[in-house]
């Protein structure tokens, strides 16, 4: 309804994404080309979408959690558990749909565990989810017995390698999850409730917002998204790697949500902008990996760029950027 306001928020992220893509073009001139080979699209943009799918999914789950003034540190570990469950299930001779359902169920259970700790036991979210972040990898390692649990089931591998309408399945899954979640929170009153609980828990309670159910719900949803991301990561390498699957991705997801403009103090959130944040991160990573620069610089470069992005998005820079982009847009249309 208020398109200009929405556009103003999205504008700075779109500009950042454009800069990141431009950097990629400078590194690899053919980056923007998209070719259709055997009914499947190939190209730099598709790679970023494909590689970014797990963090996109995590960000879709993380944004509502952060909006309630919470945080979910366990998503990386949940990815590992879900992947391990899926690989162990197909290796035990079950069909791949069973494995997928088992993995998603595991994610729901992990989310429920987090939600119950936060809501019923009133633990601080950072502490509550830290438990599963640490213990979760142990659980995954128990399932895989410390090995990379390789599988050959084509159905499960298809979660990563299959494609539909020319797009890799992970991209479609991430986009579907983002759109579905966006519709769910904005098409119903969930978004309003989440934002009111995150902004002012006491006022929300007195206005009759069912905060406990809502809080459990956002953690369960985050667990589900993490399980989906874990399935993609596992299918990608056709094996469950308990030690490394989703390692540190919780931090990427949090960063994506923050780049998407959600405050860690809760309140306003946007699924779309969080997904955009995830894509900006992945675009940067792809650019650095393909730049040919010594790998010793990876972490430093990433840190510098992330710091720049956050500075550019800080309230101090907001008006300057708005004026700059407004001028650019004017010139573009003139």
């Amino acid at each position: 309804m208020n398109t200009p306001a929405w556009f103003a928020a999205a504008r700075s992220r779109l500009l950042l994404l454009a800069i990141v893509l431009l950097a990629n073009v400078l590194v690899a001139p053919g980056f923007l080309e998209v070719r259709l080979v055997d009914g499947r699209l190939f190209g730099g943009i598709i790679d970023i979408l494909n590689r970014g799918a797990p963090v996109m999914l995590l960000a879709v789950g993380m944004a509502p959690v952060i909006a309630t003034r919470g945080i979910d540190l366990s998503v990386g570990a949940v990815m590992a558990i879900a992947g391990a469950v899926a690989a162990a299930t197909v290796n035990a001779g079950h069909a791949w749909p069973v494995a997928i359902l088992a993995a998603l169920g595991t994610g729901l259970a992990c989310g429920l565990w987090n939600g119950v700790l936060v809501t019923i036991f009133r633990m601080q979210p950072i502490v509550a989810t830290l438990i599963l972040m640490v213990a979760g990898r142990g659980i995954a390692q128990m399932i895989t017995q410390g090995r990379v649990l390789t599988f050959t089931d084509a159905g499960l591998a298809g979660v990563s390698s299959a494609s539909l309408l020319g797009l890799p399945l992970p991209v479609l899954l991430a986009l579907a999850a983002a759109i579905g979640t966006g519709l769910l929170v904005r098409g119903t009153a969930l978004g309003l409730f989440i934002e009111s609980v995150g902004t002012s828990p006491r006022a929300a309670r007195l206005a009759g917002v069912p905060a406990p159910a809502l809080l459990i719900g956002v953690y369960v949803w985050s667990g589900l998204m993490a399980a989906l991301a874990g399935l993609i990561a596992t299918a990608d390498i056709r094996g469950a790697d308990a030690n490394n699957a989703g390692l540190w991705l919780e931090l990427d997801a949090i960063l994506a949500v923050v780049i998407g403009g959600t405050s860690l103090y809760g309140g306003r959130f946007s699924i779309g902008l969080s997904v955009l944040g995830a894509l900006i991160l992945q675009g940067m990573r792809t650019c650095i990996l393909r730049s040919g620069l010594p790998p010793e610089l990876n972490l430093l470069l990433m840190a510098v760029v992330v710091a720049l992005v956050l500075v550019v998005q800080s309230p101090a820079c907001g008006p300057v950027l708005a004026r700059m982009t407004a001028r650019l847009t004017r010139r573009g249309t003139a």
Binding site: E195, S196, R202, L206, G267
Partner: protein, 510 residues
């Protein structure tokens, strides 16, 4: 006495412009040593801007400030303090988890061999507080003390920073009358010692009790400066509102429509260590006023009635049937609404728009799945913005940008949208400017006349006496009386508040 005193602060032609608004337009202000000077005006008159310019919190666009004849231009609050201008605000800006002494000496700790000298800090802090009539242990954390004491500590800190000009911005808003009396005594002592005090308040009674001179602002401009003793109350309100107001009329008792059936019957509702069991009936088309001092248990009765806190004794009947109140959602389902006392923390959802704040309770009652359609949300918001005269450019503005009075009206709208049978209001007019104040009182009377049952907690006794049909008086967390009909007079209410509880819970109710 002010006429002969020397001029401390001379502000001339002070101006501050925001995009599209001239928040302060060529304002003069003169403060004299030994004088308490009231700064008055409705919300948006420019009081806060003037204070922000004096304390350097905002830059000056035009005009001059002379302190003791010397031109100054404060760059920031620390710079203003160094010059001798210090402000103490309604929201205490000290750090609750630090000790009292640490708060007093924050940023200027006494040191010894390069380390903070804690013993000296405590000793001197203790001596300083004693001068302010506070015999408290400065090693305790600030949060251990009541708002009033914290306010006094903040003033002690301010004065100790060798202040020439002390600005008190709504210092009495969260104090009870005894605490106000202590504060006023302190203000007079400070003034007598040669300080110039600028006192901002909404309470006209207090202006006449404590101030020597009054400066009135309206719409960013100076209306005038008068000696308090020479300015009649009605004239003062006229200066503030810009016309002869009808506002004071709300203090005249009006006849109510005949009360209807009992909607809610409260029997022996209470909770250990919170409030002793109280009994009341609330009828259709009736205002049940609740009076008592701060801490008398008046707010707690509302929390129990709304289910925000669970009662451990007694019960509630709605339409004669017993109901369970396990939480606010139960109360809302029964058709109750509740505007809490702490508007900022318990009322508004600051980040959300006026529209979202208005639809929140209605939406919560409908459940998350059945969203109030956007068109209906906008219509609801626009209707209430018009009906309640909520001053906002549009319904999408974040509610935190509205003034207190308009936030309160939006909260009323939130509950009116649910068409409640019982509306519980805790201090609905606290911290609100005169205009909005009168509007809200009139609105309550309209709602009552339309058949709603109202449960109104207020510390403004005259007001309660004016619109309440019956008054529940609370004292020391117990029911101290229930006044009805002709008994509802300010004198009777004060009498019930002051008189010791005599064991008979219903007091002098007939």
């Amino acid at each position: 006495m002010g006429d002969t005193a020397s001029m401390v602060l001379a502000v001339r032609g002070l101006t501050r412009t925001f995009p599209g608004v001239r928040a302060l337009d060529g304002v003069d202000l003169t403060l004299r040593a030994g004088e308490i000077h009231a700064l008055l005006g409705e919300n948006g008159a420019g009081k806060s801007t003037l204070i922000n310019l004096l304390t350097g919190a905002q830059p000056i666009d035009d005009g001059t400030i002379h302190l003791d004849g010397r031109a100054i231009r404060p760059k920031n609050p620390a710079d203003a303090a160094a010059n001798g201008i210090v402000a103490v605000y309604q929201e205490i800006t000290l750090l609750p988890n630090l000790s009292v002494a640490e708060n007093i000496y924050l940023g200027r700790e006494p040191t010894r061999f390069g380390l903070v000298d804690r013993a000296r800090m405590r000793r001197e802090g203790s001596a300083l507080l004693a001068r302010f009539g506070l015999s408290i242990d400065p090693a305790l954390p600030l949060s251990a003390f009541s708002t009033a004491v914290q306010q006094l500590i903040a003033i002690a800190r301010a004065v100790d920073m060798s202040a020439r000009v002390l600005i008190l911005d709504e210092p009495t808003a969260s104090l009870d009358s005894a605490e106000v009396a202590v504060l006023f005594r302190l203000m007079r002592e400070l003034a007598a010692s040669g300080l110039a005090i600028l006192f901002v308040t909404h309470f006209l009674d207090q202006v006449y009790t404590v101030t020597d001179r009054i400066t009135v602002l309206r719409g960013g401009k100076l209306v005038g400066e008068r000696l308090t003793a020479d300015l009649a109350r009605l004239d003062l309100v006229a200066m503030m509102l810009g016309s002869l107001p009808a506002t004071e009329s709300h203090l005249q008792r009006r006849t109510a429509v005949a009360p209807g059936d009992i909607v809610v019957q409260v029997t022996g509702l209470g909770r250990r260590n919170l409030v002793s069991p109280f009994t009341a009936e609330i009828r259709q088309a009736e205002v049940l006023g609740v009076a008592g001092l701060l801490g008398s248990g008046r707010t707690e009765t509302a929390l129990l009635l709304f289910g925000a806190v669970r009662a451990d004794t007694g019960g509630v009947l709605v339409d004669g049937k017993p109901v369970t109140l396990k939480g606010p959602r139960d109360a809302i389902r029964l058709g109750f609404g509740f505007c809490p006392e702490d508007r900022k923390l318990d009322g508004i959802v600051a980040d959300l728009s006026v529209r979202e704040n208005i639809v929140l309770a209605l939406q919560a009652r409908q459940g998350w799945w059945k969203r109030v359609p956007p068109a209906r949300q906008r219509a609801l918001a626009d209707d209430y913005i018009r009906l309640l005269n909520i001053r906002t450019p549009d319904a999408e503005k974040p509610i935190q940008l509205l003034s207190g009075g308009n936030q309160q009206k939006a909260l009323l709208a939130r509950w009116l949208a649910t068409r409640p049978r019982l509306l519980i209001l805790d201090e609905p007019t606290r911290g609100i400017d005169v205009g909005a104040h009168a509007e809200i009182i009139l609105l309550l009377e309209e709602l009552r006349n339309d058949g709603m049952a109202l449960y109104v907690i207020s510390s403004e006794i005259e007001e309660v006496a004016a619109y309440a049909d019956r008054v529940l008086v609370m004292r020391e967390r117990r029911q101290a009386g229930m006044l009805t009909g002709a008994e509802v007079t300010p004198a009777a209410i004060i009498d019930a508040i002051v008189r010791p509880v005599d064991g008979e819970p219903s007091g002098r109710a007939a």
